[in-house]
């Protein structure tokens, strides 16, 4: 107890104590936040510098990268990504739109979907309508080699932007499928299991905490021409041995399956927590008042679980939108995504400037998305 005695022996004036306490607070915060400032914010500034450099003339791109030449400030690289129009294709018909307009409309639709319920009686029409408009261009069916969409954005003059929309579509479809598949699991655990549910939720999530690469490796074994799936098809006589399903590996379908498999256990957690924290008496009250189970589910359980579902969706959407490992391992050339383009710009293409623009654009999208949604989560008291 020597320290205690030493600390009490000298009485300090209040101002000095205040100062010491402030210095202590700063000292405790500094290592962590300083690290993030230096190795997270400052690097992003360098990305910005690179993205606004003039495209190099005369010298080869590779040489300029090695020399680190950044001649002067210019938005020209951004113009290349954001300038060209994109076209919205709906069932074969297409409309050309400037990209900024698409961005504004998308953010507005997102906000209306999340906060539309506050518009009172209008909300009943606004929320579903804006949700459908928001979702439709990204909804896809991963079948065969590629994603099949009813509607979607593309850009003929801008391969990167087309790739971006394809990535959003992929992430969106993966997140949606994961939420749909994991919801019954969370529901079952929260409502049908006794205290063993905490043990089971760990068993469900455990695969998520194991090595991602190794789980991808397993799919290489399962989905090859003579893998588990094709062998099953051969043995049941659905396919002949010389005619395996060749798009099981190295296609957008593969990327979809692997991403879904990787993330689905994790999604169960936020949904489970949301369901678990609900006041059960609300459900009982609804039933006592004559609501059927389906009605009680639709009007009580689902609205209360909405923040958990939205959080779960976002938890997958954000990491998968920059995904480049899965496409490289199991996507082949058909499964190329936006993240792959960034990786290639910094890797084999050695075009850091273009890569910087792509990376910053991705951050911008993610930040807007997170900011809007986290406001929603805070407003509804869900998420943490």
């Amino acid at each position: 107890m020597a320290e205690i005695a030493a600390a009490t022996s000298v009485p300090e004036p209040r101002a000095l104590r205040r100062l010491r306490s402030a210095a202590g607070t700063l000292g405790m915060l500094l290592p962590g936040t300083g690290w993030l400032l230096l190795f997270f914010l400052v690097p992003l500034y360098y990305v910005f510098l690179f993205s606004t450099g003039l495209r190099w003339q005369g010298v080869t791109k590779a040489a300029a990268v090695v020399n680190g030449e950044l001649t002067s400030f210019s938005w020209s690289l951004w113009g290349g990504l954001l300038g060209p129009d994109v076209s919205l294709n709906v069932l074969g018909a297409s409309v050309a739109l400037p990209l900024w307009a698409v961005g504004v409309v998308e953010v507005a639709l997102l906000a209306l979907t999340l906060f539309g319920a506050r518009l009172g009686s209008w909300g009943r029409f606004v929320v579903p309508a804006s949700l459908v408009l928001l979702v439709l261009p990204y909804l896809a069916l991963p079948l065969g080699e590629s994603l099949h969409r009813i509607a979607g954005f593309t850009s003929a003059d801008n391969p990167s932007m087309s790739l971006f929309f394809r990535s959003v579509s992929m992430s969106f479809t993966v997140s949606l499928a994961a939420v749909v598949l994991a919801f019954p699991i969370a529901y079952f655990l929260a409502f049908c299991m006794g205290t063993s549910k905490y043990r089971w939720i760990v068993i469900v999530i455990a695969p998520f905490l194991t090595s991602y690469l190794l789980r991808v490796l397993a799919f290489k074994v399962i989905l090859t021409d003579q893998g588990l799936v094709n062998t099953l098809l051969f043995d049941t006589g659905l396919r002949s041995r010389d005619n395996p399903v060749d798009w099981l590996l190295y296609s957008q379908f593969t990327v979809f399956v692997v991403l879904l498999y990787a993330w689905v256990p994790f999604v169960a957690l936020p949904i489970f927590v949301a369901l678990e924290n609900q006041d059960r008496r609300l459900l009982e009250a609804a039933t006592d008042l004559g609501a059927s189970r389906l009605l009680a589910f639709r009007r009580v359980t689902l609205p209360l679980a909405a923040p958990g579902i939205v959080a779960a969706f976002l938890f997958i959407f954000i990491p998968t939108i920059g995904e480049f490992v899965t496409p490289q391992l199991v996507g082949g050339s058909r499964g190329y995504l936006y993240g792959s383009a960034i990786a290639d710009d910094f890797g084999q293409n050695n075009d850091w400037q273009s890569g910087a623009v792509l990376a910053l654009f991705l951050i911008g999208v993610v930040v807007v998305l997170t900011a809007t949604t986290s406001r929603f989560l805070r407003a509804t008291g869900g998420g943490s």
Binding site: E3, I4, A7, S21, T25, G27, L29, P31, G32, T33, W35, L36, F39, F40, V42, P43, Y46, V47, G68, P184, F188, F191, G194, T195, Y198, V204, A206, T210, S211, L213, L214, V216, L217, A218, K220, V221, I222, Q226, G227, L228, T231, P265, L283, E284, A286, T287, R293, P319, G322, F324, L329, A343, F346, W352, G355, A356, A359, L362, I363, V367
Partner: protein, 279 residues
Amino acid sequence: MSAAGATVAVSRRGKRALSVYFVAFVALLYLPSVILLIFSFNDNTVPVFPLQGFTTRWYAAAWHDDLLRAAFVRSLKVASLTSVVATAFAVLASYALTRRRFRGRNAITAFTLVPLVVPPIVIAVALLMLFRKGPVQIELSLATVLVGHVVISLPYAMLLLVPRLASIDRSLEEAAHDLGASAVTTFRRVIVPLIVPAILSSLLIAFVVSIDEYAIASFLSANSETYPVYLFGQIRQAQRLPPMIPVATVMLGLSFMVVLLAEVVRRRGDRRLGLEPGT
């Protein structure tokens, strides 16, 4: 709630359907690991059906793969340093954020969590630019990987520590203060013992995040490949695949054990703080 009967949430039939779905879901979730386990003993140079017979030669091959071993040792180094550094930073920062009052507290908390929502590839290329094109040229090495891994594991550590610190009864500290303990002593003798479980799980999570991290390691490790980077290079080529399967099997087994261990530690901590399980 009765074990078999209907409740307000589910009918009896619905419950049966859900339990069938649940069993199928968990089985499918673990199927790939089982497949890897089977193929790790398969006597064939390509991992395809039909199975060819039992062998342990892939295990032997993996064991004698010196490059793999070197990469693995590097990964262990980076992961253990990452877990210690990130946890230490997070303990200090989360203590300041939950116990001291100052302006911009929420903003700082949010800032420490931001790397969580930034795709890792962006962090990787941003750091690559800082090190290669920044004011000071820094050679890429294991140290640069460490820098990146601390950035991405800090938010996880914060997420584990902030709620735990916030849940500690303040009267404990007030009592220590009234008894004449200095801030440092209170922290060391009162707070730290109470957050030991959270510190342990933070160490574990940061370790797991780092040891499995590919994006940052692939851009920042240069010649000192970490184990995921090496693994990635190997599994891209079909003929290099078989010796990696036993590695996968062993690593998956180990990580399942670590997860279970972490859960046990967490529960014990909850009980110590008198919390309900699962909160």
